[in-house]
Amino acid sequence: MNASDNHNNETIISTKDLCVWYDDFQALIDVSMEIPEKSITALIGPSGCGKSTFLRTLNRMNDLIDCAKTTGNVYYRGQDIFQSSMEVSELRRHIGMVFQKPNPFPMSVYDNIAYGPRTHGIKSRAKLDDIVERSLRNAAIWEEVRDKLRQNALGLSGGQQQRLCIARALAVQPDVLLMDEPTSALDPISTTKIEELILQLKENYTIIIVTHNMQQALRISDGTAFFLLGDLIEYGSTDVIFSTPSDKRTEDYITGRFG
């Protein structure tokens, strides 16, 4: 399926007949999807529908689950991410991730941001300073933490921690950002800030976001994909999905009749 509204943008990630099993349970069933570059794609659906599994498969974070088995293909810029020549750490550097619960490391704000670049071999103090400031600015949190760079990141508020995590993900200069319900643990004001930030990030990054909040999907996303019991039911431009869905189940879900 294809998000019709964004056909002017090139496809950056595509999946073909993607299936994921956890032992005997099939969490994703033949999902084929094309995600356009520099856009926001929302994945919606009731809990257990496979949307998080789908997200975590795109940068192979699902490899960490021992009982997970994957078939089908995922292409990132035309490259099959499951082929043996694919370096997983390199893939994840390009496809970053922000998690549901803000998870800054128990270190200083500065060290949190510098972690990624340092891992990838940047040692120069000046360069790191530069990356830290730029990443924090891009995540719209620089003004709030510029005087707290040496303080432990766990002392920040939940909303600040989540933006810090976004900054940390940006510091390795990814191409795609996967976000797994990034605002579900936050209050409405922090949520608004993060949503504004996501809209800004669209300029330079491709964003794929899992959300339980239909309003959020409607507010920020360009394309929306609706999952149910491991099936991709419907995928199209957000306007269309939310105004004239073609599948009855999509309509039931977005109007709150189940899920």
Binding site: N103, F105, G116
Partner: protein, 301 residues
Amino acid sequence: MTRKKEKTVQENIRRKRVERIIHGIFLMLGLITVGCVLLITIYLVISGIPAMRTIGLKEFLFGQKWASTAAEPKFGILPFILTSIYGTAGAIVLGVPVGFFAAVYIAKIAKGKIKWLLQSAVGMLAGVPSVVYGLVGMMVLVPGIRKLFKVPDGASLLASIIVLAIMILPSIIKVSVTALESVPPEYEEASLAMGATPIETYFRVSVPSARSGIAAAVVLGVGRAIGEAMAVMMVAGNAPNMPTLFESVRFLTTAVASEMSYSSGLQRQALFSIALVLYFFIMLINAALNFFLKRGNVKQS
């Protein structure tokens, strides 16, 4: 109606009383532990002080010669103190790196059967009685050192250090593994999601997050090493020399254990003073342990 109410009130009073009695019993059982510690402390202080007074604190702690049964007895325990410190330090230097990397491997890398095998082995190592460590050391290590280094007697500080290093491994590994396993998986996920490799993640995120637990593990190892008597008695040779690596040495613990059975008078009192010094070291180590554990808790909250 009122009757029923009265009954409930009485029932409530009865239940409260039972609660209070049970509470009292538990408190008493708890106080028994405190009482034991207090009793030991008081007993050691009372019986340890006189000899220090007679001999003189400086003479006792810093005297380099111990000749308790000589015609003109000397009671300097510096050799024992230094042996205990060197022996423990040596065991830590040898044991901590091995234990630390083993713990990282068990907690983070090993899977399935290998993990099970390693964990069972560590558990069994913890359960081996110290006299068995001593016995194996005596039969294998002591002759081995004699042949390898061509020294007249293998019973030495080196043999003790090796035995102690092996003995402290289980405590170091177990506590470190627990600390490493309780690192929130979200930290590791975040690191992996930025393109760090698993090994980078373990050493740059997991280990720093678990550092207070790992520090506690090391301190626990120090405590175990400094308090061990039986195993070292069997491999140290027990001559009251100032410690050198290949010579027979005597630890604080073995000094007490080896002479207690036939001691009398000032000699016996001096042995109690040695125990008091040892007790003081253990207290220091416990304080350090509490410090590290507390710091870990504060950080997590």
